[in-house]
Symmetry: C2
C-alpha cells in the first residue's frame, strides 16, 4: 500500500493536494488551454469567446449587463471590447436615452462567427470526457460554491 492518501484530508490542512481551490484553479487553466487552439482558429481568446457567447444570446447589451453576466469589471471588459471592435466583430455606441451607457452590438462578421463556433462546445465536451450526469453534477457543485463564496 502506498503512502499517498494514507492520511484523511484534515480540515485545516496546508497540503497542496488537499486544497479544493488548487484543483479548481488547475482545472480552470487546463480547460482554457484546451480551448486555446480551437479559439485561435476563430481569432478569439477565451474571455473574448465568453463575451461572444453572451452577444450571440442577447445582442445590443450594455457593458454593465455584460459584466453582470460574466462577473467581470468594466476595467477588464473595456479593453477587451476595444480589441473585439478592432477585430471587426462588434460596435460600441452610446445610448441616446442614457449617455452614460454604451450598447455593444454585433457586426455581420460577429454574427456570422457563430456558425464556426458551433463546433467548439462539441469538441470540448468530447475532450472533457465526463458523462452527462457528471457534467451536470459538476455544474451544480461549482454554482453552489460560487454562490456561497460570493455571498458573505
Amino acid at each position: 500500500m502506498n503512502t499517498a492518501e494514507a492520511e484523511p484530508t484534515r480540515e485545516g490542512s496546508l497540503l497542496l493536494d488537499d486544497q479544493l481551490c488548487f484543483a479548481l484553479y488547475a482545472a480552470s487553466r487546463a480547460v482554457t488551454a484546451r480551448y486555446r487552439p480551437l479559439l485561435e482558429a476563430l481569432g478569439l481568446t477565451y474571455p473574448q469567446y465568453l463575451v461572444m457567447l453572451v452577444l450571440w444570446e442577447q445582442d445590443s447589451i450594455s457593458v454593465r449587463d455584460l459584466g453582470a453576466a460574466l462577473q467581470l469589471e468594466s476595467s477588464t471588459l473595456s479593453p477587451l471590447l476595444k480589441r473585439l471592435e478592432a477585430g471587426g466583430l462588434l460596435r460600441r455606441e452610446r445610448r441616446a436615452e442614457d449617455e452614460r451607457s454604451v450598447a455593444i452590438r454585433l457586426t455581420d462578421a460577429g454574427a456570422r462567427l457563430r456558425d464556426q463556433a458551433e463546433a467548439v462546445p462539441l469538441a470540448i465536451g468530447d475532450a472533457m470526457g465526463l458523462t452527462p450526469e457528471e457534467d451536470a453534477l459538476a455544474k451544480r457543485l461549482l454554482r453552489e460554491l460560487t454562490a456561497n463564496v460570493t455571498a458573505g
Copy 2:
C-alpha cells in the same frame, strides 16, 4: 413554471449557462477573490500562496519541480519567485551539482509565515459551505476533468 432550465442542456449548446467551462472559470475567480483579503494580510497573492504551500511541504525545490507541482511555466514562476525573494520569504541559489538548476529555499521569515497561514484554509472551508462529501466529490471531478483535458 419558469422558462429557465425548461430546455434540457443540449450537447452543442452555445448558451453561456450550459457551459461547464464558464461555471469553472467563474468559480475559480470567485474563490480566488475570497482568498484575497486573507492573503493580503500575509502579504501574498493567490499564486504566491500556492508556491508557499509547496515550499512548506518540500523546501529546497527546483523551479522545474515547482512548475510541475503547480502546472506553471518558468516564465510565470521566475518573476513571481523574484517578488517573493524581494519580500524576504525565500532565496534562490544555483545548485552546485547542476548549474542550470536553481534551488528555492525558505528564509526563516518564509518558514514562520506558515503559522499565520494555518488560519486560511479553515476560513475558506467555512466560506465554501460544502459538506466534506461534496468537497471530496468536487475534487475528484475536477481532477478527472484536468487529467482528461490535459492528456489527448
